[in-house]
Amino acid sequence: MRFDRYETEGFYDELFDEQNQPRGGADVLIERINALPETELQRRQKAAELALLNLGITFNVYGNDAQIEKIFPFDIVPRIVQAKEWENLEKGLKQRITALNAFINDIYNDQKILKDGVVPADLVLTAEGFRKPCIGLQPPSGVWCHITGTDLVRHGDGQFYVLEDNLRCPSGVSYVLENRLIMKRTFPTVFDACSVQPVTDYPSRLLEMLQQMAPDGVRSPMVVVWTPGIYNSAYFEHSFLAQQMGVPLVEGSDLVVHKGEVMMRTTKGLERVDVIYRRIDDDFMDPKAFRPDSMLGVPGLMKAYSKGKVALANAPGTGVADDKAVYAYVPEIIKYYLGEEAITQNVPTYACWREDDRKYVLENLDKLVVKAVNESGGYGMLVGPHATQAERDEFATRIKAKPRTYIAQPTLALSRVPVLVNDHFEGRHVDLRPYILYGKDSVYVLPGGLTRVALKKGSLVVNSSQGGGSKDTWVLNASGGGSPESPIQDQSQEE
């Protein structure tokens, strides 16, 4: 099977330029795929799917027979990111997370940025993710958001934009690692020829970072991953990360606060826990501090945390910076704390609580994407150009009733990549979620991240709950990449 008849159809394509020529760095891949015998690629795609099924990398399909499990759809053609392009993104992400961490720390302590009027105080203090019990907390080394998965998209202009910051419990990194494993199994020689930056050491880096967080004086810290349980849709990932790090995976019922310390119940009695990588929302962590009806939580956990008896990653309260209203101010936040211009841009955002913006939004609903500030995962959203008049009218009413809860952004022409459809390739829209580890001394960005694909033709929704799949993301090594001639790089260098 060959790419001969593949068309970019006027979209920015990650592998081909406007003349349908392979971009620098993608040429080796394209050449190799073109050289495969007919039907070989389909065969390997099937082999990869079977491998995923046997590995049990599946999610439950709700509302169906309990027996039905599906693999997270996977497309065999990798997405390629060139070294220089990545270098710039990495810088942008590090800058952004450093500023956001400073922001969260400030909000729960001195609130200088609010006093200086850079971000409106009422916006921050009414944000859904703002947690009163976190006021005055001083997490070890001042780090709040240890693990982040920032959502990026590339627009038709070839630029990457930040769509969401995901500072609470971002998921998906396990798919990055498993996709890579599958690709190395199915395409060993192509992989080798392309010189790709490794992702496999993520669990070691994660463990190292978590161990660094241990309370003072603990020599060999007990690190655990905390999952809401086997029925959580990201359970596979929780279990995978615990396994790869070689640490226990605990549920709320395994933990107890005993004499002020967090302990877990073992076959030999109680054992102290020093660091918790929690994959459970703030609200459910401790019924004494947050939601009293939480059945999953550990009573007294927050007290132990505030006394420094146990470390939590991420710290509770980070969701305040995930609020889409706060998102609109990230460029100002970067400038305020770092004195720098943002390297990676926000998507232009209209804040419906500002009168001018609201007026514009209401007049242009058919051109805009409207988002509820507290929702994620593609819910609570209006895609104006694809919506019916009735849907738009409904959103107009909602915006007028609660302007604080809505933002709007222009509809982006998300970039595309080729995916295998039966016996040929077709372009599909993608986003990119790199993962960032904020350690005691340094910030690490996993080269690549999760490329999510909207597998439905023409669809812009990449979420796995709504028909999305994924691809391996190959960030090339600086020396191994192709010629740096593509137009995007020119643009990013101009900044």
Partner: protein, 317 residues
């Protein structure tokens, strides 16, 4: 290790062992039934009895025949001890401790489950031997993978202890039911039927060849001796208890012959019973009574294991 994790590993091994035993029962029985055409359906009732689920069977199916016996024992989702249900339960347990067991173990259990899930009844009826061999092989593969990929630490010992207790229980059950079915046929002694029936009993425990090597000619008492009291045959009750207590001692750190908790104490007593049992005594008490007592004692050990290791004790915070 976490109590919850120990519990899951213990049960996942019990379920795999249970599935394997059900496959053994059916396979041996199927072939035996083919050799005794007149009496074919009568052979399926004792099989249902072996599993201890005859009441559920009656409720769901009524009369016993080959088709519904196999349906019930292999596929029926309403039967918690069908092969399907066991493998599914094993997988659910494995899923909750994926981070603790090795990836290879998980992959094997998952593949095992996918195989059972995909197995079609029709092909089974046509070619029954294959799937039962596949099931036994899958179980053996799992044990092999476990032994060679997982640390032989606490978790591994919980798994092996579970497997051994399950095996001891299943061997007593098969011996109990079969013995009473086969006993009335004393007039067959020495006939080809006799060899056939006792051969099937041995085969269902994969014991035929090892028995031959150990005792030679088919002899009902020696068969009982072999399956119950042999300390070396890996499916014998005695062997299973010996192995279970080695794991128990490893978990608690107790020296051999001592105990640190009630579970270990009960298991130790049971082992002492088997160490000093004689076949004459067994028959004096009555084989059925003896097997029944043994099952009750194995269950007792199981409950204590739950109490000592798995129960979340309340703690004042």
């Amino acid at each position: 290790m976490l109590s919850r994790v120990a519990n899951s590993i213990y049960w996942l091994n019990r379920y795999i062992e249970r599935a394997e035993n059900v496959a053994r029962f059916i396979d041996a029985n199927y072939h035996m039934a083919l050799d005794i055409p007149d009496n074919a359906s009568a052979q399926w009732q004792p099989l249902i009895n072996t599993t201890g689920d005859h009441e559920l069977f009656e409720e769901l199916y009524g009369e016993v025949n080959r088709e519904n016996a196999i349906e019930f024992l292999v596929f029926d989702r309403n039967n918690p001890n069908s092969i399907y249900s066991c493998v599914r339960a094993a997988r659910e347990n494995a899923r909750s401790v994926r981070e603790y067991i090795s990836s290879e173990m998980w992959e094997q259990i998952n593949t095992f489950y996918l195989m059972i899930n995909a197995a079609a009844k029709e092909t089974l009826m046509d070619l029954p031997h294959k799937i039962f061999v596949d099931i036994m092989t899958a179980s053996h593969t799992f044990i092999g993978i476990t032994d060679s990929t997982m640390n032989h630490g606490e978790g591994w010992h919980f798994g092996r202890m579970g497997r051994m207790l399950e095996r001891a229980d299943k061997t007593t059950r098969i011996l109990d039911v079969k013995y009473y079915i086969l006993l009335p046929s004393v007039e067959y002694v020495g006939s080809s039927y006799d060899n056939l029936l006792w051969g099937a009993l041995l085969r269902s425990a994969s014991a035929f060849e090892m028995y031959r090597k150990r005792h030679g000619r088919i002899n009902p008492r020696k068969i009982v001796d072999f399956l119950l009291l042999d300390p070396h045959f890996p499916r014998a009750v005695h062997y299973s208890i010996i192995t279970a207590i080695i794991s128990m001692n490893n978990i608690t750190g107790s020296p051999r012959g001592t105990f640190a908790n009630k579970a270990e104490q009960k298991l130790g007593r049971l082992l002492a019973e088997f160490n000093f049992a004689s076949l004459d005594e067994v028959f004096e008490i009555g084989l059925h009574e003896y097997l029944d007592q043994t099952q009750t004692r194995i269950n007792g050990v199981g409950s204590e294991i739950h109490e000592v290791f798995f129960s979340p004790h309340t703690i004042d915070s």
